[in-house]
């Protein structure tokens, strides 16, 4: 296809009905037909996913895409080694969407591209595997759900723990009543992040389409030290971006209550005072009917570790008090430690005795299998887009609370907005850069 300019992009994104009629239809997939995939975003996660799907016999990586051409080689080499066939290399993901022979878009971009990339892919008749956190903001997440439903697309979110067997056993255990009634769940995400450098703004490196990279978000002056994770323009923060895995597990274990009634939050930049927007310390309390969830997160605690690979893939448990990605489930009759990444779970009775242990394995492969199965069966995947929306939403609420002065926010599930703070409602949707927009009616 010829390269689209931004004006063309507007034409495809604004006015969904007209745009949809003009967009290429998804080809009809036979039961044994190879599923052809384009990968948008060639950072670590995008490259990892490209390699994993390239290794499958039932899928092919047809495109690799990143605005930064310096990222091409690493991903291309990994894919060529895995599937022995060369993918097309493109900077603009719209070339993937224009190819009628592509069935799937893997969206492993920074947060600010999750929404627009996914919605346009749905409009173009592609199924989508989008990385977590699902959305940059609350409104965009809702539009992603609407697009998936309207165009009948399979949209799987990269919250792979949903597909791990040990997680389901934990839920069964809780639902059996052995912990009694669950009234408190504590979710931890304790990490160690580096400070950003303080180098001055500089020229955009050759081979990097920075304008396209910014896309719908504000185009800040290019700075090689800036980490997009730390800027509200591009991210909902490194805490939300990672802790959403654990919170998604907490929701799963407590039967996926869709929305909190209210969120109290305190957050600050205590340690990483490097010019970032997003907090490095965040505690939030989510109020549900008869249930409280507490999220505790830091970016400066190196002694609290993520579960190492040696435990993820073996019959071992993490050292729970120093496990950075644990969930604690507190019932009236028992307590459960639960670990992400295949960390397993252990249950204690009212006397504090260990009464059940279940080792875990990561669910990455099962999550990809589930996605491919759903593409063929047209069933909803394990981490469907709406689940992704509801699992990241409380973090959006906590972030908004932070941005309006750590105010307790009462949430209206029907309108996905706040009952008690007009200032907070201004953060439900972001400003879109001129030339880039997501329409109200996707």
């Amino acid at each position: 296809m010829s390269a689209l300019n931004r004006r063309d992009f507007m034409k495809t994104s604004v006015g969904a009905a007209a745009a949809f009629a003009a967009l290429p239809q998804n080809r009809s997939l036979g039961a044994n037909e190879t599923i052809r995939i384009g990968v948008m975003g060639l950072g670590g996660r995008g490259t990892y996913l490209a390699e994993r799907f390239a290794e499958r016999s039932d899928t092919e990586i047809a495109y690799l895409c990143d605005p930064n051409t310096r990222r091409f080689a690493r991903a291309r080499e990994a894919v060529e080694e895995a599937q022995d066939r060369s993918p097309k290399m493109v900077q603009d993901f719209r070339r993937i969407l224009d190819d009628k022979n592509v069935d799937v878009l893997i969206n492993a971009t920074p947060d600010h591209w999750h929404g627009m990339g996914t919605i346009l892919a749905c409009q173009a008749g592609k199924d989508v595997f989008v990385e977590k956190p699902l959305s940059h903001n609350i409104w965009e997440g809702r539009k992603m759900v609407e697009a998936a439903r309207k165009y009948k697309r399979v949209v799987q979110v990269g919250m792979q723990s949903r597909s791990a067997a040990y997680v389901h056993k934990a839920k069964d255990y809780i639902q059996s009543g052995k912990l009694g009634d669950i009234h408190l769940v504590r979710i931890y995400n304790m990490m160690k992040h580096p400070k950003q450098g303080d180098t001055p703004d500089g020229p955009v490196p050759k081979g990097f389409d920075y304008d396209l990279w910014c896309g719908p978000a504000a185009k800040l002056p290019y700075n090689p030290s800036r980490r997009w994770l730390n800027q509200w323009e591009y991210s909902c923060g490194p805490i939300a971006g990672d802790a959403v895995h654990q919170f998604d597990m907490a929701r799963f274990l407590t039967d996926d209550i869709p929305y909190p009634n209210a969120v109290s939050q305190t957050g600050a930049i205590n340690a990483l005072r490097d010019g970032r927007d997003t907090p490095d310390t965040q505690m939030a309390i989510l109020e549900y009917d008869g249930l409280t969830m507490m999220m505790e997160s830091t970016l400066w605690t190196p002694y609290i570790k993520k579960i190492p690979a040696s435990i993820r893939d073996s019959d071992q448990f993490p050292n729970w008090p120093f496990c950075s990605t644990r969930v604690e489930v507190l019932g009236t009759e028992g307590f459960m430690y639960f670990g992400r990444h295949g960390g397993g779970w252990q249950a204690y009775n009212a006397g504090g005795e260990l009464v059940h242990s279940e080792y875990g394995r990561q669910g990455d492969k099962e999550h990809r299998d589930n996605f491919i199965d759903c593409i063929r069966t047209r069933k909803r995947p394990n981490a469907d887009v709406e689940i992704g929306h509801q699992s990241v939403l409380p973090y959006h609420v906590a972030n908004i609370s932070y941005r309006v002065g750590n105010k307790r926010l009462e949430f209206d599930a029907a309108t996905e907005s706040f009952k008690n703070c007009d200032q907070a409602n201004k953060h439900i949707k972001r400003e879109y850069r001129q030339g880039w927009s997501i329409p109200e009616n996707v």
Binding site: G44, T69, R70, F72, A73, R74, R76, E77, A78, E81, M191, K192, H193, P194, K195, Q196, G197, D198, T199, P205, K206, G207, P224, S225, R227, L229, P238, D242, L299, P302, K305, K306, P308, A309
Partner: protein
């Protein structure tokens, strides 16, 4: 068979290959044992290093390895037992002589059972001094170092060529008996070309000798370099080697200013494919190579110090850490620099780095060694 072949030799001379990019040629190696009055027997090793290009600026790194069990196990001769002009950095061609003291204590006094191998790599001298560090070490995420890029480095030496398939095969035949350092992908004839045989020996697919070795993990690279007495370069060392210091003769003398101290490419500012001239091996076949090229093939576009292929061909492992915010302390990512035969031309510059897990073995990453004399 190998053992019986070697048993009759008291010395194995490592001969040069046809291209200068492999070991440097070493000739007329002689070894003898002399008694001493009080210090026990000593071994005298002589050889000729004929390459006329060897100089103070482009010395040879000579290292010796020996086996005292007919070639089953090898170890590097410790330099603190050596005296003479033929080991370590050798800055003049010609006849060399070394004395190995304490040979009896090292168990290598009986020349009837001992094999000694002498090998030499082409190096380039990078004088101490300031340079323009344009990239951020560890892509700005290196927690082991200051955020501020290094701008001054002491004297060090860097291999003029990427480590070749032939050199690595030579190494495997000493240490790879159990398969250590080799993986099946290395046998791919179009991307590496090292074949493992049933007797645990290794050979090179003909024609691949002087291509850069690939499918080497960061650990493989470290092991090879430890084998020959070198180490991986830091990112700063790698970058200074590419564009040169502000003075190419170093800050002590400052007689030779670098005309382009901020150059993005080893040869200067021109893009790798500017004006239809192909200055390195990047993505595509227009430069003459669909995949890797023999090392040194673009020698006229070498760095100011005469170091070849820093741009393109294969990216090169460095010593530096990279940590992403999601993986700090867990995965220990490392940085490879320099672009590759699969990279777009702009990615073959002085600042582009790719992060990889150190266990990763790919067809686009190789390595070269450096040596920093102790001050």
């Amino acid at each position: 068979m190998l053992r019986s072949m070697l048993a009759c030799l008291s010395l194995v001379v490592v001969l040069s290959h046809c291209c200068r990019a492999a070991w440097l040629p070493i000739q007329n190696v002689k070894v003898r044992q002399d008694p001493t009055e009080l210090g026990g027997p000593k071994i005298v090793i002589e050889y000729d290093l004929p390459d006329p290009s060897i100089s103070e600026a482009t010395p040879a790194h000579v290292f010796l390895r020996f086996s005292k069990d007919f070639g089953d196990h090898w170890q590097r001769v410790p330099t603190d037992r050596l005296r003479g002009n033929g080991f370590g950095l050798v800055e003049k061609p010609g006849h060399k002589e070394m004395t190995l003291w304490g040979s009896e204590q090292a168990g290598i006094a009986d020349l009837g059972q001992v094999e000694i191998r002498v090998r030499a790599l082409a190096m380039a001298r990078i004088p101490a001094g300031d340079f323009a560090m344009k990239s951020l070490p560890g892509a700005g995420r290196d927690e082991s170092e200051s955020d501020k890029p290094a701008s001054n480095l002491p004297l060090y030496y860097m291999a003029r060529y990427e480590t070749t398939v032939a050199m690595y095969t030579d190494y495997l035949n000493e240490v790879g008996g159990e398969g250590a350092g080799w993986n099946r992908r290395m046998s791919k004839p179009d991307r590496c070309g090292i074949v493992q045989h049933s007797d645990q020996t290794y050979s090179v697919v003909p024609g691949r000798e002087n291509h850069p070795v690939t499918y080497v993990s960061w650990y493989d690279a470290m092991d090879f370099l430890n084998w020959c007495g070198l180490r991986l370069p830091t990112e700063a060392e790698w970058e200074k080697a590419l564009r040169g210091g502000f003075y190419l003769d170093g800050d002590q003398t400052k007689k030779l200013p670098n005309p382009l101290p901020e150059r993005p490419f080893p040869w200067g500012n021109d893009a790798p494919d500017a004006d239809g001239v192909f200055r390195c091996n990047f993505d595509g076949e227009d430069d003459g190579f669909a995949r890797s090229a023999p090392v040194g093939r673009f020698a006229e576009f070498a760095s100011p110090y005469g170091i070849c292929d820093l741009a393109g061909n294969v990216a090169e492992w460095t010593l530096d850490w990279y940590s992403t915010s999601y993986h700090v302390g867990l995965d220990g990512f490392r940085v490879a620099r320099g672009g590759s035969w699969m990279a777009v031309p702009v990615a073959c510059d002085a600042v582009t780095g790719a992060t990889q897990l150190p266990l990763k073995e790919t067809s686009i990453i190789g390595f070269r060694g450096v040596m920093a004399p102790q001050r």
